[in-house]
Amino acid sequence: MNRNFKLILAVGMTAVLVGCGSNGSTIDPQRIANRNVEFDQYFTEIKADAAPAKPDENGFIRRWTIIEPINKPNSGNTVFTDSYIQAELTKEYFKGQFTKDINALPKTGDQVIVESEAPRAGGRGGFGGFGGGAPQGAGAGQARPQGAPGAGAPGAGQARPQGAPQGAPQGQGRPQGAPQGAPQGMGGFGGFGGGMMGGGAPAAAAPSMVKDTLEWHSVDSKLFNIKLIRFAQGTSNGQKRYGLIFNAFTVINVDQDVVVRLAAGSNASSIWWVNGEKVLTLQADRRMVADDGMSKRITLKKGKNLVRAAVINGPGMSDMCARLYNEDGTIFKNYTITNN
């Protein structure tokens, strides 16, 4: 597994420096130092028998076992309606995906073969960039003509292929025929090119399918939130970023029965289960906010309790965070966290 994004960084660095050169100035390398996005910046892989962890000082659960993401390409995030989330995040892609049996949980390094939709060719659109600021030359951020490959990460930022249903002609704002009964008329604001957000409608044609071998990874996050996009990149040699479903679990160990609430945030939609019971759904296109949603009261049983999360996102940032609250609104931290 190659978790190195030096190619991406090199492209980005070149773009920035070229952009700078356009006005004759130079950028102090320190300004852009330490901005890499390597897996190790975000996660520490742990062994199956790692010593139990504790929640962090703010109660966030940082230890999770996550399977490499399943493809679920979406050009936008506007498709994440309640019914879509329920259908897609409870769909069983492999045997045992939703097991309630703690003794049957996968271990880090276990692999499964998953059939999923093939990523769509040509990246996922974007909107052609806002290029007016660069005075001249091919600086970073200049507008790319629709259809021209961008200077971005592999597979990203390219224009939507001809004939794809989500796009809009450049300069026409939101596409006609947007979902959910948008009134006829302009919509949007008429300025952006390639259907920035409105392209949420699923493709009408049956998607082509691919089989992936996906591996489980037990990790401790170095941040309070789990940067799923970086997990995806780091476990796919940079090939996976957007249009993915993430499945994760963790085990909460308590020394007596306790009533709590699970508080979570996710980018974008997610469903959360405790001991097999669905306790929280965060629907719609949303950003990760700590304590965005909170479950009803849950009784954690003495011993091991299984917390499971499934998160879906189209393009954009993907991450999640979770912690537990006591009934009285204080943060519950009297437990340990394991990966089995």
Partner: protein, 482 residues
């Protein structure tokens, strides 16, 4: 061609005024408006792509008279000394693309493209993001702190929002400045200072989805311009926190891209765009609303909707009325201590109606006074928005409901009501919600003077015109509907 365009504006305005007074009229189509700037008697803003909007009164807007500027995404403006500093950005693809953004600044002595001084200086790149890092350097927002330091915030939904100090003399980065992460996954951030706090405002929700957009403006606050910015439940904006300033209102979805304009002490406006204005084909439009500060947090206030109101003095709580003969109502229970009615069934006491009393009102001008509110016809004022205005709000005619008898300013800075509204400047009133939620009511003009005055209480029971002072309770009024 110009005449046709102006006729079109009037037509558009007429349609808009029948619907609402919550958004600008004319052709205010824009996305990501820069903080509004005033220059030589006109108001200016620019949106993504540098498209301009201009207004001579702050209420009717169009692109006419403006010049597109060479910017990418979401410019912002600030006036420093006698120059205007523009910060703007370019990005590599946004939602599904790369995130190699740049923030650039440039200066101009004027915003009027007809001025011989109109010329943008060479751009300076002050911040940037790599093609794939936890930041996308777009959506610049500028703030000058009370001690004269200049900062720019930037970033978008892809990772961190950052702030970095600039040199207010050059617009370049301040020597040794370091970019600081202050929030996560916002768009269109900017910062304002109020009463010892720095407020970081950003936009959450879904952008660019027309009538389905969930864009909403949130904020956190800090004692430092570099954070941490904490919301009203103690949550750091780096954890996604943010208290709502404005989201959606009936007929308008997706408030985004906050900017503040301080008219004067006590009168603040927020500019932003609606992702979709239902009365304008669901297009994205410029909007300007008052800012109300409640318990230390900014909220979007309200322009007065067309309707009938009590005009209640903040001073005493009495109501403005025309000075007509008091007509007692029949019925009721006299002393009203509850014991007089025995077991009789309750009946509805009839309200006093306009037709019950108007016949005895004088036919000419009638003075106004302030007294106990009893929902009598001479105390009910109808506000009707007109097709011109001031920054963010239309002028209103204010008439006794059911009549055309209009409140008017008179020479000598006093008040009267005239029997027929004519549209004369002394009969037009700007109504601005103040930072404390009360309203200021000002005539467009006062005969014989250029002095700017507002409706004031004099004593508990009389009204006049006088100089506005946010700290003077006499200058404030509440508009009540029951």
């Amino acid at each position: 061609m110009k005449k046709i365009f102006q006729m079109g504006l009037v037509a558009l305005a007429s349609v808009a005024m029948t619907e609402t007074v919550m958004a600008q009229i004319g052709a205010p189509f824009i996305h990501d408006p820069a903080t509004i700037m005033e220059c030589d008697g006109k108001y200016y803003t620019w949106g993504t792509g540098g498209s301009p909007l201009v207004s001579s009164d702050g209420w009717v807007w169009s692109s006419e008279g403006g010049a597109r500027i060479s910017v990418g995404a979401a410019p912002d403006m600030i006036k420093i000394g006698d120059r205007y500093l523009c910060a703007h950005s370019s990005t590599g693809g946004g939602l599904g693309g790369g995130h190699a953004g740049t923030i650039r600044t440039m200066w101009n002595k004027t915003l009027d493209p007809q001025s011989p001084d109109y010329e943008w200086t060479e751009q300076i790149q002050v911040a940037e993001s790599l093609v794939d890092e936890d930041c996308d350097a777009i959506d610049a927002g500028l703030i000058m702190t009370p001690d004269g330091r200049l900062f720019v915030t930037y970033g978008t939904y892809f990772g961190f929002i950052r702030v970095v100090e600039l040199d207010p003399a050059t617009g370049d980065r301040a020597a040794g400045a370091v970019d600081v992460n202050v929030a996560v996954d916002c768009e269109a951030t900017t910062m304002i200072y109020e009463d010892g706090w720095y407020y970081l405002l950003g936009t959450h929700g879904t952008c660019c989805d027309g009538v389905n957009s969930t864009y909403n403006i949130v904020c956190g606050r800090s004692k430092s311009p570099t954070g941490p910015f904490i919301d009203n439940v103690g949550r750091d904006m780096v954890e996604g926190g943010g208290k709502m300033v404005l989201g959606c209102r009936d007929g308008y979805t997706g408030a985004g891209h906050f900017g503040r304009y301080i008219v004067e002490e006590g009168v603040q406006k927020m500019s932003f765009h609606w992702e979709a204005d239902y009365s304008m084909s669901g297009r994205s439009t410029l909007a300007i609303l008052p800012i109300v500060w409640r318990n230390g947090w900014p909220e979007a206030g309200y322009n007065v909707k067309n309707g009938v109101y009590e005009i209640e003095s903040e001073r005493r709580g009495y109501a403005l009325e025309i000075a007509t003969e008091y007509v007692r109502l029949g019925g009721g229970r006299g002393m009203g201590f509850g014991g007089g009615g025995g077991n009789q069934a309750n009946t509805q006491v009839a309200f006093q109606k306009l037709e019950d009393v108007i016949g005895n009102w004088p036919k000419g001008n009638i003075d106004v006074r302030v007294i106990d509110y009893q929902f009598r016809p001479n105390q009910k004022w109808e506000f009707v928005a007109q097709e011109e205005g001031t920054l963010g709000t239309p002028y209103y005619k204010i008439v006794i409901a059911g009549t055309n008898r209009a409140l008017a300013a008179t020479a000598g800075k006093e008040l009267t009501t005239v029997p027929e509204f004519t549209g004369a400047p002394e009969q037009l009133w700007s109504v601005d919600q103040l930072v404390d939620g009360t309203y200021r009511i000002c005539p467009k003009a006062v005969p014989g003077t250029d002095e700017k005055v507002c409706l004031i209480s004099v004593g508990d029971s009389n009204a006049s015109l006088g100089k506005f002072d946010i700290n003077d309770v006499n200058c404030k009024w509440n508009l009540r509907q029951y």
